[in-house]
Structure formats: structure tokens, C-alpha cells
């Protein structure tokens, strides 16, 4: 039966004094696909290894279904793990690798054979039972590692960048299959990745980590649409970040002066208080682009949700186009527009008008 995990104020300081994980707290629900996302070195693997029992936290506690397991040795935790490099036993066949955990549980031979067969069928590896890991492709090794971990029906499945070594096509296929499997088995899955697209596509919830700390926990939509910190806004997807001082004008009750003749109207939100310096984020696809039309936009500029600029270059993405635009004042802005046909595309040098809704502006904590 899948379990919930509670990570309560866990820190890890390595022998050399490196504070790899710093007061991390998160509640992972039963049956949830939970991702730890962050740049390399931010402490994802360390967090996962503490859950698995390979590292002992320097502070804090880890609870599974409410029971404190902080000091339970790894082999008594009943968790499956898919390692970054798979860690398949090179001296054993595929079938023996998958059977290992069942053998350690003292099951009889017939039961083991049945379960191994079923697990290999589930990851579509039937027929490769007698191969050795060295004679498998990367994708096949990945599946063996997965089968080995789920065949023991673990309370929690831990995956450390399991798809990192696969090429893009295979990775997308495995993402889909892993997600399917997780839902089918109702597994609680903790998934480590540095790939934000992967995390957004697969997770029920994501914890974004940076420098050993959790920056934000939320659903993919929350993380993307309402990043709470500058780091999260910057790390997830493309974004325009402006920094400036709170101000008011005679047309805007609440605005931010980001310099270079640009004043942005702030969304009406009770969270925004005080007068100090603020950072705000505006996603490229939340900006609307049109050929420059002075008269119509004069009032919009005054309301802080419009600007003029010149297209510097374009990046054709297929379904969309990414424009790099220099505003009149000098700010450089990314704008993404759906590809509405060749005749509607802008080219470098075009004079354009940008407008957006103040509500799409997200105020960030530094």
C-alpha cells in the first residue's frame, strides 16, 4: 500500500561542512506524483537519499504514514529506488536483477518467477530475461531498474533523474509510461529532475529547490502561473522580470517604476504592501503583440499595460514564435505568440505595440 511522506525541517550537512539541504519541509501525499525540481547541486539527490535511508539527516525528521523513520536503516524502509545511473547488478541477468528484492523477502521460487514475469511484461521487456545489463540499451536498462523497484510493491517509489540519460524521443515516451504506471499502481512517487518541462508535464505537485532550500511547492500550474520567488519565475520557463520602486501616478493607483520610462500597473492584490523595491514577472505568452498603432494605445500606455518597441530577432518554435523586442526606453522583453500563419508573423525591424493585462503580472519575493 502506498504511503504518505512527511519531511519535517530536515537539514543535511556533509562532513566537509557543505550544507546540502537546509530546513526542508514538505508533505508528500499518498498516491501523489511529487517532483523535486532544481538546478544541479541544489540538494535534490541528498533529499531523496535521506528518504531512502542512505544519508541520515543532520536535523529534522522524516515520517512515513506518520511513523518516524529518520533512523530506520535503508533495508527496512520498504521503498523502491531507481538510481540516476540505474545501478543494475552487472553480474546478474535481467530476471535475477528484478528477482533480487523478492528473494530478499524470502518468497518461494514459483512466486518470484510469476512476479518477475509480470513485472517484465509491465515494462515491456519480456524475452530479455537472460540478458545481462551490459547488453541492454539505455532505455531497456531504465525499464529493468523500474521493474526491479516496483516488483516489490514498495510503499514509496523514489526516482533520481531516471530519464536523464535517454534521448529526447525515448524520454518523452518513458515520461508518459512512467506516469501511466504510477497512476495505475497508485504509487507515491518522489521524482527528482532538473528538467522543468519534465516536472511540469508529469507531476501532481512540484517542490522547486535552490541552494538546499525549498523555494515553492505547488501544482505545475501554480508554479508556472504564480511563482512566488524570483528564482522560481526565472527557473521555470521563459519570463520577463522587472525590478523597480513602488509608485503611484494620476492614472495608476498602484504601480512600479522600472526605470527607462516604463511604469507598470500592478495587479489589484492585498498581498502587495509597502513602498519599497519590488520584482515582478510577466510571462512572454501573456503579452499580446500587434503592429504599432499610436492613437489607440496612447491611453493604454498611461494605464501601465502597454509599450512600444522594435523586434530585434525572432525564434521560430513551430507552434509558436518567440520575439525578442527592445522597448523604446531600452528594456529588452521576450514575447511569445501563437503561430497564426506566415502572413501574420513579425520580422526583425518591425515596429510593434505590446499590451497585457495587469492581472498577469506576478509580484515576486526576492
Amino acid at each position: 500500500m502506498s504511503a504518505s511522506i512527511e519531511i519535517a525541517g530536515v537539514s543535511k550537512v556533509y562532513d566537509g561542512g557543505v550544507r546540502a539541504v537546509d530546513a526542508v519541509a514538505m508533505d508528500i501525499r499518498q498516491g501523489e506524483f511529487f517532483s523535486l525540481l532544481g538546478p544541479s547541486g541544489c540538494g535534490k539527490t541528498t533529499t531523496l537519499r535521506m528518504i531512502a535511508g542512505f544519508e541520515i539527516p543532520s536535523a529534522g525528521a522524516i515520517r512515513v504514514d506518520g511513523a518516524d523513520i529518520t533512523h530506520v536503516p535503508a533495508h527496512k524502509r520498504d521503498m523502491g529506488m531507481v538510481f540516476q545511473n540505474y545501478a543494475l547488478f552487472p553480474h546478474r541477468t535481467v530476471a535475477e536483477n528484478v528477482a533480487f528484492g523478492l528473494r530478499m523477502r524470502g518468497l518461494d521460487k514459483a512466486t518470484i518467477a510469476t512476479k518477475v514475469k509480470a513485472a517484465l511484461a509491465m515494462v515491456e521487456l519480456s524475452g530479455l530475461e537472460e540478458r545481462r545489463p551490459a547488453h541492454l540499451s539505455g532505455g531497456q536498462q531504465q525499464r529493468v531498474a523500474l521493474a526491479r523497484a516496483i516488483v516489490i510493491a514498495p510503499r514509496v517509489l523514489l526516482c533520481d533523474e531516471p530519464l536523464g540519460a535517454l534521448d529526447k524521443k525515448l524520454r518523452q515516451q518513458m515520461q508518459f509510461e512512467l506516469k501511466q504506471l504510477q497512476k495505475k499502481l497508485g504509487l507515491t512517487l518522489v521524482f527528482v529532475t532538473h528538467d522543468q518541462e519534465e516536472a511540469l508535464a508529469m507531476s501532481d505537485r512540484i517542490a522547486v529547490m535552490n541552494g538546499g532550500r525549498v523555494e515553492q511547492i505547488g501544482t505545475p500550474a501554480e508554479i508556472y502561473n504564480q511563482p512566488t520567488t524570483r528564482f522560481v519565475a526565472d527557473f521555470i520557463g521563459d519570463t520577463n522580470i522587472f525590478r523597480g520602486e513602488r509608485t503611484t501616478t494620476n492614472t495608476m493607483a498602484s504601480a512600479i517604476d522600472v526605470g527607462k520610462d516604463l511604469i507598470l500597473a500592478l495587479p489589484r492584490s492585498p498581498d502587495i504592501q509597502g513602498t519599497g523595491i519590488l520584482s515582478v514577472a510577466l510571462r512572454p505568452e501573456k503579452i499580446c503583440l500587434s503592429p504599432r498603432a499610436d492613437a489607440a494605445t496612447a491611453t493604454a500606455t498611461a494605464t501601465g499595460s502597454c509599450a512600444h518597441g522594435i523586434v530585434e530577432n525572432t525564434n521560430f518554435l513551430g507552434g509558436a514564435v518567440l520575439y525578442r523586442i527592445t522597448l523604446e526606453g531600452g528594456h529588452r522583453v521576450l514575447v511569445q505568440q501563437p503561430n497564426a500563419g506566415t502572413s501574420r508573423l513579425f520580422v526583425p525591424g518591425n515596429d510593434v505595440t505590446l499590451d497585457w493585462t495587469p492581472a498577469d503580472l506576478v509580484v515576486l519575493k526576492d
Binding site: 536503516p73 535503508a74 533495508h75 527496512k76 552487472p90
Partner: protein, 291 residues
């Protein structure tokens, strides 16, 4: 190898020449001569009339004394190897897995330090410890634990103690290299799947370090059966091994032919082991499933 490369050797091949010459001159030539001498009735340089004979080998097989010497040599080699493995493996495992650099350096120094002293000196040191009036017996007697000195020297045990001390570094260094290359995460994967640390070691690390165990054992065994100084000093000619016998045959009995035959036997034991080692290595590294 392609035939073109074989026909037209490149310039680099010349660099092998000095080594190849040296090998031929100091390895194949002496061994060839030894093999020849072992089947001749006398030295062809000094005696003009020599003939081929099998009498040296017949003498060895016919006399239980010589068979006993061969068996003693092998027995000492085996026991030395097993003890060196038992001591060396845990040490090597510790060295390969230790996290701190300073700790690793200290262990390495501890393993290598004895090698800085000559074999003779170390053997004499063991004599002062093991002899009837040596440190161990004196201590035990003065503590009243024994009344008569234990017979530690001039026994096989004494020889094995001395040999183990000398050859354990070879075992440790060979094993450390192999164990160090085994990914620690394999053991962790085993533990994650429910194996206790001991079980994980037995199921994963031990089988994966078999090549190192084989190589280290082969090295120590070959060195131990050909050891000369330690068996003489700690055995005091009361334990006869092949190298001592060979030396006696040459220096005391001037029977070079018989000494050569004994040398060939010593060589054959090592060669046989190398062949067995290669077969075993093929088996454990799973090369048989390559076809």
C-alpha cells in the same frame, strides 16, 4: 588485427624492440636453458658426452621425500594466500570505501610502510618475536600462562606468519583497486531492495570483487611458493621447500640438472595456476555468455 597492419609495422613498433629483446634474453633464454638442463645427463659445456634423460623427473616422482617437499611448498603457499586474503580483504574494503582523504593516506602508508624495509630485516624481526627466547614466549612465560616455550619458530606456522607479513600489501593493493571500482550505489541498491548490509556485501560486492581476489591470490601464492629467505630463516632448514631444495642442489650437491627439474616443477605450478585463473576469470566476469 588487419593484415595490412601486420605487413607494414608502424614506427611505434620499434619502441617495443628493446623490451622484447630484454624479455627474450632474460626470460625465455634462461627458462629454455633450464628446461633443457632438466632433461640432459650433464652440462654440455663442460662434459662433451651428454644425452637426453628423464632421470631427474623420475627421481622426483620416485622419492616420497621430494613429493613431500613439493606438497609442503604448495601447502605453505595456500595457507599464506588464505591468511593474506582474510587479513587483506577487510583492509582493502576499508581503504577503498573510506571517505576522508587523510584516512586513506594513513591506511595506504600503513600498508606500504613495511615494504620500505628489506625482507631479511623483517624476517629477523619475526625471529626476535617468535624464537624460544623471543618476545612472545618470554611474555607468556613471565605471565605464567605457559611453562615451556611454544614452538613458534622452525615450524610452518612461523614461515606462514613471516610470509603473510611480507605479501599482504600485494593482496591489499590489488584488492583495493578492484573494490574501489565497484560502484557503491550497487550495494545501496541491494539494501534498498531489502538486503541487510552483510547480505548486500555477499550478494554484490563480494562476487564483483572476485577478479581482484583471484589476481591477489595468484600473486601472493606465486610469491610465497618461490620465497627463499623467509622459509630459510624462520624454518631453519627444518622445513624444506622447493626454493631451498633447489639452492641446495646447486650449491651443495652441484646437481644442476636435478635443480633445473625442480625449477621446472615450481614454474609449472605457477603456470597451471595462471591458466586456472584465466578460466575462472572468464567464468566470473560472465564472458561465457558473450557468444
Amino acid at each position: 588485427m588487419s593484415s595490412a597492419a601486420a605487413q607494414r609495422p608502424n614506427g611505434l613498433a620499434l619502441f617495443i624492440l628493446p623490451g622484447a629483446l630484454l624479455f627474450a634474453l632474460f626470460f625465455f633464454l634462461p627458462i629454455g636453458l633450464m628446461a633443457l638442463m632438466s632433461i640432459l645427463t650433464g652440462n654440455p659445456v663442460v662434459a662433451p658426452k651428454v644425452a637426453f634423460t628423464t632421470r631427474h623427473y623420475a627421481r622426483m616422482i620416485g622419492d616420497p621425500f621430494y613429493l613431500e617437499v613439493i606438497w609442503t611448498t604448495i601447502r605453505i603457499g595456500l595457507v599464506t594466500t588464505l591468511v593474506a586474503l582474510a587479513i587483506g580483504y577487510p583492509l582493502a574494503h576499508w581503504m577503498a570505501r573510506i571517505k576522508s582523504r587523510a584516512g586513506h593516506a594513513l591506511l595506504l602508508m600503513a600498508v606500504l610502510a613495511p615494504m620500505l624495509t628489506g625482507i631479511v630485516v623483517r624476517t629477523f624481526a619475526w625471529m626476535t618475536l617468535l624464537s624460544d627466547r623471543g618476545v612472545i614466549n618470554q611474555t607468556l612465560i613471565s605471565l605464567g600462562l605457559i611453562s615451556q616455550p611454544l614452538k613458534l619458530m622452525y615450524t610452518e606456522t612461523g614461515i606462514v606468519v613471516g610470509l603473510v607479513h611480507i605479501y599482504v600489501p600485494f593482496m591489499v593493493l590489488t584488492l583495493t583497486g578492484v573494490i574501489g571500482r565497484i560502484d557503491e550505489r550497487l550495494e545501496q541498491a541491494a539494501e534498498n531492495l531489502g538486503a541487510s548490509p552483510l547480505r548486500a556485501f555477499l550478494e554484490v560486492t563480494l562476487p564483483l570483487s572476485l577478479p581482484g581476489i583471484l589476481a591477489g591470490s595468484l600473486l601472493v601464492f606465486a610469491l610465497a611458493i618461490s620465497a627463499y629467505v623467509t622459509p630459510i630463516l624462520l624454518g631453519g632448514f627444518q622445513i624444506m621447500t622447493l626454493p631451498i631444495l633447489i639452492y641446495q642442489q646447486i650449491s651443495a650437491n652441484f646437481n644442476v640438472g636435478f635443480a633445473a627439474a625442480l625449477g621446472i616443477v615450481l614454474l609449472m605450478i605457477s603456470l597451471l595456476l595462471v591458466v586456472a585463473y584465466n578460466r575462472a576469470l572468464g567464468l566470473v566476469s560472465g564472458q561465457h555468455d558473450l557468444q
